[in-house]
Each structure stands twice: as structure tokens, then as C-alpha cells.
């Protein structure tokens, strides 16, 4: 925002309340109400207004209080933001960022606790990023703001409490580049966003059992860095994809298919996926934990592709 006057933030409670999840803390004081704008609760309306502002020369950052409420704005994102460049034969550009928390939370039941990554990943014309560390979050957000296309950023709700190194100085994490978060030789576990933590824990458990896991963090769901994914699988010959969305038509099932197709000759086992159970999220905590990907489920899937069980 300091660098580019055209960048502004708008959404519910982003200003005076400092952000429902405190992501925009201090921005109103720093940049004033012209650039940090509290909206009514009208997701479709303010998202569309952001898109209009973007095609007319501004660079909006639209915060959705959570992705659950972005469902109301889907028409504007899918039918307008994603398609305007194409429909206008390249005359228009839509440099806008849509961001907010996504994914399972705690004790919130089904309308407030769901991963909607697949809905955005499905749409040509959008870019979709999902950081798994504070470092990546800063770098990806900056890249997203500078990008000339609409970028949807998925910030896992429970990750806001996570801590990690974030350099003060300027740096960018490129959109479309996956990251090897842990090199290994026996199996590639491919994931993104919050499940990275579960995967890293599983890798530790597996290490004790003599299994060397390579962890690929996608970071960007669209474009998808198939080069990094495939070269990892060609090295390890086995793959498990871990995701917190539902299994049907989800990010994991797509990545697993892509790996199966491109690396067929290199694979020593079928590709496994670990996802949310195929149910709406229940409120009860025991059930909601059982619905989600866990260390045990990842360890079991890795054991299957290694024929350890």
C-alpha cells in the first residue's frame, strides 16, 4: 500500500475493528479511510465493486471475512473477475486480490468450517494461492497484489495463530512455484496450506520408522507447478496428496490424477489421497477431528504406497 497509491483494502470490519481476525490491524490509522474501507455485509456487492474498480485502474484487495461467505460473491468472481480479460479479447485486465480465511475451524459446524479451494481452483482466469507459513504468506500476498490478474488467496483460519520467521525487508514469493519443504527419497507427500503441519509431523513419525519423506508444498493451486511435483515423484516413485477439502473434484484428486498420468512409468504404487471425509463438518469436536486429515491418516496412506501394511 505504501508503494502503490492504487492499492486499497475493503471488506467487513477491516477498518475500525482492525479486521475480524486482526489481519488488517493498524492499516486504517496508517492509510486512512479512503484506502481502508469498511463495507456493509454485502459480499456480492462489494466484491463486484472491487472488480469494477480494478478494470478502471485501481488495485483492490477485497477481504472476505471468511471464504464461507465468499460463496455469496462467487458470481462476481467467476463470471466477471475471471472472464473479463477473455471476453473482452484482452482489452481489460482485472488486477484484484480476494483474500480471507478458509478451511476447517474449530467447533463451528458446517457453514463456517469448510475448505473451498476447489471452487476457485476450478476456474480458468483466476490464480489461486495458499501459503502454509508466515514467510510464504507475506511473499505471496505481495506477488498477488502486483499481479495483473485476479488472485484468490486462501489463508487457513487456524493458521493465524501460527508463528514463523518473516523478514522485514521486501521479498516476493512467486505465484506458480511449489516449494520442497522437506527433501526426502522414499515418497513424495504433496500438500498445501494448513495440512503442511500434519504432513511434517507425519514425516517425523515416518522417519522414526526409517521412511524418508519428501514434502512438496504447492503454495499455488493455479497455476500448478507440475514441474516440481513431477520431478519429486520421479525421484521417489511414490506419491500421497494431502488436502483438507472434500475428495470429489478436489485439489488432491486433481493433483493425484495429474501425477498418475504424467508419472505413470515412474510410479511404484498407486497415488493415494488423504482428504476430508465426504461429509459436512459436524460441530462436535471429536467428530470434527475425525472428519479431517490427521497424522495417522497420512502415515497410513504413506504405508500403503510403500506396501508396509
Amino acid at each position: 500500500m505504501a508503494r502503490d497509491e492504487r492499492v486499497f483494502l475493503m471488506g467487513e470490519e477491516v477498518g475500525e475493528y482492525d479486521g475480524a481476525y486482526k489481519v488488517s490491524r493498524g492499516l486504517l490509522v496508517k492509510y486512512g479511510p479512503k484506502r481502508v474501507i469498511d463495507t456493509p455485509i454485502s459480499e456480492l456487492g462489494f466484491t463486484g465493486i472491487g472488480i469494477g474498480a480494478a478494470i478502471a485502474g485501481l488495485r483492490p484487495v477485497v477481504e472476505w471475512m471468511t471464504h464461507n461467505f465468499a460463496i455469496l460473491a462467487m458470481d462476481q468472481v467467476i463470471n466477471n473477475a475471471a472472464k473479463m480479460r477473455h471476453m473482452s479479447g484482452g482489452q481489460l485486465k482485472v488486477p484484484i486480490v480476494f483474500r480471507g480465511p478458509n478451511g476447517p475451524a474449530e467447533y463451528l459446524s458446517s457453514q463456517h468450517s469448510q475448505s473451498l479451494a476447489a471452487f476457485w481452483m476450478h476456474v480458468p482466469g483466476l490464480k489461486v494461492v495458499a501459503p502454509a507459513t508466515p514467510y510464504d504468506a507475506k511473499g505471496l500476498l505481495k506477488s498477488a497484489i502486483r499481479d495483473d490478474d485476479p488472485v484468490v488467496m486462501l489463508e487457513a483460519e487456524l493458521m493465524y495463530a501460527w508463528e514463523g520467521e518473516v523478514p522485514e525487508e521486501e521479498y516476493l514469493v512467486p505465484i506458480g512455484k511449489a516449494d520442497i519443504k522437506r527433501p526426502g527419497k522414499d515418497v513424495s507427500v504433496i500438500t498445501y496450506s494448513k495440512p503442511l503441519k500434519v504432513v511434517m509431523e507425519a514425516a517425523k513419525v515416518l522417519e522414526e520408522r526409517g521412511v524418508d519423506v519428501e514434502v512438496v508444498d504447492l503454495r499455488s493451486l493455479r497455476p500448478l507447478d507440475t514441474e516440481t511435483i513431477f520431478s519429486s515423484v520421479r525421484k521417489t516413485h511414490r506419491a500421497v496428496v494431502v488436502d483438507e477439502a472434500w475428495p470429489m473434484c478436489g485439489p488432491a484428486s486433481f493433483v493425484a490424477w495429474a501425477v498418475g498420468k504424467a508419472c505413470f512409468d515412474d510410479l511404484d504404487a498407486q497415488v493415494e489421497i488423504v482428504t476430508s471425509e465426504d461429509v459436512p463438518m459436524p460441530y462436535n469436536h471429536t467428530l470434527e477431528l475425525a472428519v479431517q486429515s490427521s497424522v495417522e491418516k497420512v502415515v497410513a496412506a504413506v504405508s500403503r504406497v510403500l506396501y508396509l501394511e
Binding site: 470490519e13 463495507t39 456493509p40 455485509i41 460463496i71 457453514q111 463456517h112
Partner: protein, 338 residues
């Protein structure tokens, strides 16, 4: 229509039963919610828990004006009060808050998703404004089936700006649906003051664009809410949807995690002086309809009822793991398992 003032300034003895019912239900909601807050503090209840304390007169006064054998109630996530005012069993509501299988939604819904089909209470919606078209659809079914029933749809001052509200009102009007919209203007949508995000300060006027009459009522006065809803309901039964704006106030933060720093202590105190329970109690005492002893014993009785609800919730079973696959489809499990 316009701004409503309570018509009956003096209580009549014949109204005593009704006022006692108001008092009992408002007290039940108040004590239940205070207990829920305590249980939340003890982590027996998790997630978002939006308390209704301060707003009791709205649910109690309006729901008393309908006939739940044929009428319906639909609301949002701040739903414990409406649930109890519809006669839902406090035990079952508390058990749902605890996530137990004995809760009304089998532990799958929690605080924001109370439902009781038998009691004609249809939720419990967590998406701001989403219940407005849904409630309008319930009214559509009532008209279609010729039941003679109406639907009361509740939402906040924040929800009124959703497209869902405007689209629903338009269709309610063109199809002459038996629906009463109750906007509970508690003045804050999370940390946002309603005047800051509304093009008009008097929300009851928003019906005018759809030729739907609007009424403003003092939402801290249960009798006024009851009267205004009664009138609106009779018009709605004739096919004239009505919008009621009840001016009220929530004493607590938006949810249990909100310290409500955006408002002043004076503002809160001002509304506490108009407390709906206190006001009805004083009124009844002045009219000779209530004495302190009767009030005390009512209070104690309700306190016991709330304790029983907690004991029931505590002792109930957790839902078994396999129940996660249930209630997704009507028939057999059709869940994807790899």
C-alpha cells in the same frame, strides 16, 4: 405505517397470564444464556456463541403473537432465544451447545444451528441474511398449501443490506406471501454501527421500495413488540408482508470472543436501564400484578430448570464416530469413500 408506541399504557388484570408468560420466557432466556456464557468459559461449549442477552423482548413478544401450531419461525445464528421462545426444551438446546447426541441437531449444529421441526422452529442459519429467502420460502409453502399460517423471519441490522433481503421482499410482495420480517436492530453488526453502513437510519423504511409496510417498535418493551407483531401477523395472513424494525440492544459482545471495545460503557448502561425484564417487572408491580415473592419463586424455578439442562447436557453421550456419515442424504449412505 411508521413508528409504533405501545397502545395500552395501563395494564389490565386480564393480561396477567400473558405478562407472566412474557416474564417467564424472558427470564428463561436470560438465565439460560448466562449459564451458556459460564459453560463457554469452562470450555464445555465451543466455537461461536452469540448471546441474545438484552434482546429477549423481541423473540418473546413476537413469538407470543403467533400460533405455532400453524406458524413458523426462522432466524440466524443468534438463535438460543428464539429456540426457547418457541418452546424448545432447554435440555435439548443445552445438549446441542455441548455437542451431545441428545442435542436437537445430534451435536452436529451447535450454537448457531438450532432446529426443531415439531416446534416449528426452522433454524439457526449461520450465513448473514441467508435465512431471509429461506423463511420467505416457508411462507410460500404455507400459502401454497393453504395452511393459513405465517412465518416470522428474524435478522439483524447488518443482514438487511444483503441482496438476499431485497430479493426476498420483492418476491414476498408480488406473490402476497404470509410473512413478517423482524429486523432486530441491536445497533451493531459485529463492530459496525448500523448508521455507518445504512443509507437510511430508519431500517423499517427499507420495505417501502417493495411496497411493504414498515413499522418501528421499541424492542426493549415486550408488550409493544407483542402488539406490533399481532397487527403485522393479521395483515400477513391476508397476504400483505410486513417489515418490523425492533430497536433493541445486545448487552454482550457480538460473540463470546468479542470484548466489544467499539462501544462506550455509557451506551451499554443506558440500555440496561431499559432492560426488558426489569421494565416488565416494574410495570407489573405498579399494576399490582406481581409481588417480589412471586418473582423470586419464578426466578428460582427457572434457575433450577437451567441447572437441570446443564446436568442433562453433561450426562449425555457424545455422538458415536459413525454418525458423521449420517444425516447427509435421505436414504442410504452415498458418501464417497476411496
Amino acid at each position: 405505517m411508521g413508528v409504533k408506541r405501545p397502545r395500552t399504557q395501563r395494564g389490565e388484570r386480564s393480561d396477567r397470564d400473558l405478562y407472566m408468560k412474557f416474564l417467564r420466557e424472558m427470564l428463561l432466556i436470560r438465565l439460560f444464556e448466562e449459564k451458556a456464557a459460564q459453560m463457554y468459559g469452562l470450555r464445555k461449549i465451543g466455537g461461536f456463541c452469540h448471546l441474545y442477552i438484552g434482546q429477549e423482548a423481541v423473540a418473546v413478544g413476537s413469538i407470543a403473537a403467533i400460533d405455532l401450531s400453524k406458524d413458523y419461525v426462522v432466524t440466524a445464528y443468534r438463535d438460543h432465544g428464539h429456540a426457547l421462545a418457541c418452546g424448545m426444551d432447554p435440555k435439548v438446546v443445552m445438549a446441542e451447545l455441548f455437542g451431545k447426541v441428545t442435542g436437537c441437531s445430534r451435536g452436529k449444529g451447535g450454537s448457531m444451528h438450532m432446529f426443531d421441526v415439531e416446534k416449528h422452529f426452522l433454524g439457526g442459519n449461520g450465513i448473514v441474511g441467508a435465512q431471509i429467502p429461506v423463511g420467505t420460502g416457508v411462507a410460500f409453502a404455507q400459502k401454497y398449501q393453504g395452511t393459513g399460517g405465517v412465518t416470522l423471519v428474524y435478522f439483524g441490522d447488518g443482514a438487511i443490506h444483503q441482496g438476499a433481503f431485497h430479493e426476498a421482499l420483492n418476491m414476498a410482495k408480488i406473490w402476497e406471501l404470509p410473512v413478517v420480517y423482524v429486523c432486530e436492530n441491536n445497533q451493531w453488526g459485529m463492530g459496525t454501527f448500523w448508521k455507518k453502513v445504512s443509507a437510511v437510519a430508519d431500517l423499517y423504511k427499507l420495505g417501502a421500495a417493495y411496497d411493504i409496510p414498515g413499522v418501528q417498535v421499541d424492542g426493549m418493551d415486550v408488550r409493544a413488540v407483542y402488539e406490533a407483531t399481532g397487527e403485522a401477523v393479521s395483515r400477513a395472513r391476508e397476504g400483505q408482508p410486513v417489515l418490523i424494525e425492533a430497536r433493541t440492544y445486545r448487552y454482550k459482545g457480538h460473540s463470546m470472543s468479542d470484548p466489544a471495545k467499539y462501544r462506550t460503557r455509557e451506551e451499554l448502561e443506558e440500555y440496561k436501564r431499559q432492560d426488558p425484564i426489569g421494565r416488565l417487572k416494574t410495570f407489573m408491580e405498579e399494576e399490582g400484578l406481581l409481588d417480589e415473592e412471586t418473582f423470586r419463586s419464578l426466578y428460582d424455578e427457572i434457575q433450577r430448570e437451567v441447572e437441570e439442562a446443564v446436568a442433562f447436557a453433561e450426562q449425555s453421550e457424545e455422538p458415536a464416530l459413525h454418525t458423521m456419515y449420517e444425516d447427509v442424504y435421505a436414504g442410504e449412505d452415498a458418501i464417497w469413500r476411496s
